[in-house]
Symmetry: C2
Subunit: 426 residues, 2 copies
């Protein structure tokens, strides 16, 4: 499949910056060595004779990047949605995650997760697994086979979680993590990378955080975690780390807040000015998870503020705080939540527009994976072909309008083909 | 299809009251003369020999009632979602509605609308058409053929709308309405009824409202309109009707607020205590339209308060303020919006639960159509058969959990069969 050069023809739409679509109707999108060579209205003479794959009348968009999703929670998506975060973790999440000690269960569940992620418009994802080393490797095997570009984390937890799920001690948690990383190295995955994953401050002792920092430096790993999601969680962090200036500082004190490595923090619903400033300095990526923030009653993140500050903001489905891996739905929720925030909470921050959430779901989050999420030359050739003919309409619609409809309606039925780094995976 | 007695077998779930599911696993739902005869764990001896339709392993739920949807706006669902209500009406809605003067366009558009409504889980709906008499009849023909139980309104507007859409004068608007009602009477529809539809106070002069009251009494028509949706709209109504005590009073002064006829008002996002009290006195039905209220930045209605007061509350998709006719999505939005309202606006009103929004989408709104929306004996036999096998899961899920998942995920793929008043329409 990885032919060195090939061409897709269709209705091309993407963003270089938040708030502005680039559109090429019935144009040509050229792939060379897995990268975008360019977008052309008419094919240059030098590309004559190269086979053209015909997606005429279909939308060609960059693959979507999911900056935050919990694979083991996929099994209970859409369930038990009557609790706030901390209760929800204890009642729904921890008992389910404990099941992944059993590889048979893990395989059954992770196969469903991987199959559905493959059918979606997502080409890149930052994924939480569980504390279990073997099940995490199994998940990585499945994702590698699916051909998606992912970063997967074995979760670390050594406090404030049920005994049946705790790793017991900082030492054990760190040792398991090193063993997992070494196993991953032996696997020689092409598309699947490990990412350091302290669950969140309440579940990691200082000693564990210190150990993780050493591991992070030794293996040059990126980091993912949770930040300033829910009011009761934030109050708890303050109790646990009275010395931290703010929630993010509790990570930063251990060097796990973007200073040395690409870091993505999910939520940031209640980040204050100091936290925003620190994220900017440290180039932390924010995974905005609007549906999850509704479902577990966290609130609405000030995304407009993040964009104005020039922070890196992407979108996360946050299954199973969010119900669906479908990032189009997440984009719609981002727009909708921003409108409610504007109306109810703070009129100074204008609602998000389609062109902005689309940017966040493509290039905004994609950049966590390198040059991903745009069709500018040199970007990874991550392409989703959307066939929007299911959604009938009586009037003419231009490409931008067709894309706007996709944000509200597209699901796996619209995803006709998908390329990741030039490889056709669907 | 309208056999006098038949039986469905499957996993039955419904609500008699808000907040409590009634469940009968692998039970029998018996239809007699188009009405529910009863739900049985084991079939009574007297029903022996009656054919049983096998929906084992599938969910049997009451048909859903959409208390507020605009058929002509279906064409631009999911489009132009960057405006508040009044701008959105002028830029998106009115130009599109004007096209329905042309019957060819109306047929093309209304066929798509009707086809999709038929495939959905909706069995009953209150529908706005446009000001055009002929196109409204055409829509009613299509809905009658689809077998859905609907109330359809030719819209009235004689002020504050573009000339190309205005009915010109109160007299003309009233005359067109009478002619439309007489046409409807000649049609002798079985399942499709006319409903009086002053668009909203800003688009109807006092003279028109007086005329509509006469028409309402003469033909014993129910009424549908909009109420207290958006802050700028409410301010405008106050300007237009300084004598009205509150928005709803502007309808009530003309006797068009439930006093003499079943009346449904969409939105009620900003209803104050006086308006809530009047709705209670007049038995006004509220169509809660959570997605629309996000999309056009209206806010979040205090639904918990309505339920506590014992008001009639149903769900409306409000396409195209809302994007989708899928009332499962509307239920999810109702839960999600209520959580944000609790978190951000008013902690005294607890979030809505699955059992409550499901009640609203079935019996709560269904009662606007009579005994509709429950499986209690004597209720209309409106049944939707949901096949939830597409949504794979590794663990056992009980019926209530399977239904909760449907709220977040079901679309037309899950709707395997549908009965309206005992007739199988799908």
């Amino acid at each position: 499949m990885n032919e060195s050069i090939f061409i897709l023809q269709g209705d091309i739409i993407y963003t270089k910056e938040a708030g502005k679509f680039e559109i090429c109707e019935n144009g040509y999108l050229v792939c060379e060595q897995g990268k975008v060579k360019g977008v052309y209205r008419t094919l240059p003479f030098t590309l004559g004779g190269i086979p053209v794959r015909d997606y005429k009348g279909k939308l060609l968009i960059p693959g979507l990047a999911d900056l935050h999703i919990h694979a083991p929670q996929y099994s209970f998506r859409g369930l038990g949605m009557d609790m706030e975060l901390l209760e929800w973790l204890n009642v729904n999440t921890f008992p389910e995650e404990a099941k992944y000690r059993e590889l048979d269960y893990a395989r059954k569940a992770y196969e469903i997760f991987t199959e559905n992620l493959k059918k979606s418009a997502t080409t890149r994802a930052c994924i939480f697994a569980t504390v279990h080393r073997e099940a995490t490797l199994l998940l990585m095997d499945l994702l590698e086979e699916a051909g998606l570009g992912t970063m997967v984390g074995k979760v670390n937890m050594d406090r404030n979680c049920p005994d049946y799920l705790s790793e017991g001690s900082a030492k054990n948690s760190a040792a398991e993590t090193v063993e997992w990383i070494q196993d991953v190295e032996h696997k020689k995955y092409k598309y699947t990378r490990p990412i350091l994953t302290p669950r969140f401050i309440p579940s990691c002792t200082d000693e564990l955080m210190e150990n993780l920092k050493k591991i992070q430096l030794r293996y040059s790993l990126p980091v993912q975690s949770h930040l300033s999601e829910n009011i009761s969680e934030i109050a708890w962090v303050k109790e646990l780390c009275p010395q931290a200036e703010f929630y993010g500082d509790a990570y930063d004190r251990f060097g796990l807040f973007g200073a040395d490595a690409p870091t993505v923090m999910a939520h940031c619903v209640h980040s204050d000015e100091r936290e925003i400033e620190r994220m900017k300095e440290n180039k932390v990526f924010i995974a905005h998870c609007p549906e999850s923030n509704m479902n577990v009653s966290s609130g609405i993140a000030p995304v407009r503020r993040f964009l104005e500050e020039g922070l890196h903001v992407g979108i996360g489905s946050d299954v199973a705080g969010g119900t669906t891996e479908n990032l189009f739905t997440a984009m719609a929720h981002a727009v909708q939540a921003s409108k409610l925030r504007w109306r109810i909470q703070d009129e100074s921050l204008k609602p998000l527009r389609a062109e902005e959430v689309f940017y966040m779901a493509t290039k905004g989050g994609g950049e966590f994976f390198g040059k991903v999420g745009s069709f500018e030359p040199g970007y990874e050739f991550d392409v989703v072909v959307l066939n929007d003919s299911r959604l009938k309409h009586p009037q003419y619609l231009d490409i931008q309008k067709r894309l706007e409809r996709m944000i509200y309606f597209a699901d796996d039925r619209e995803v006709e083909a998908k390329y990741v780094g030039g490889r056709k995976v669907l």
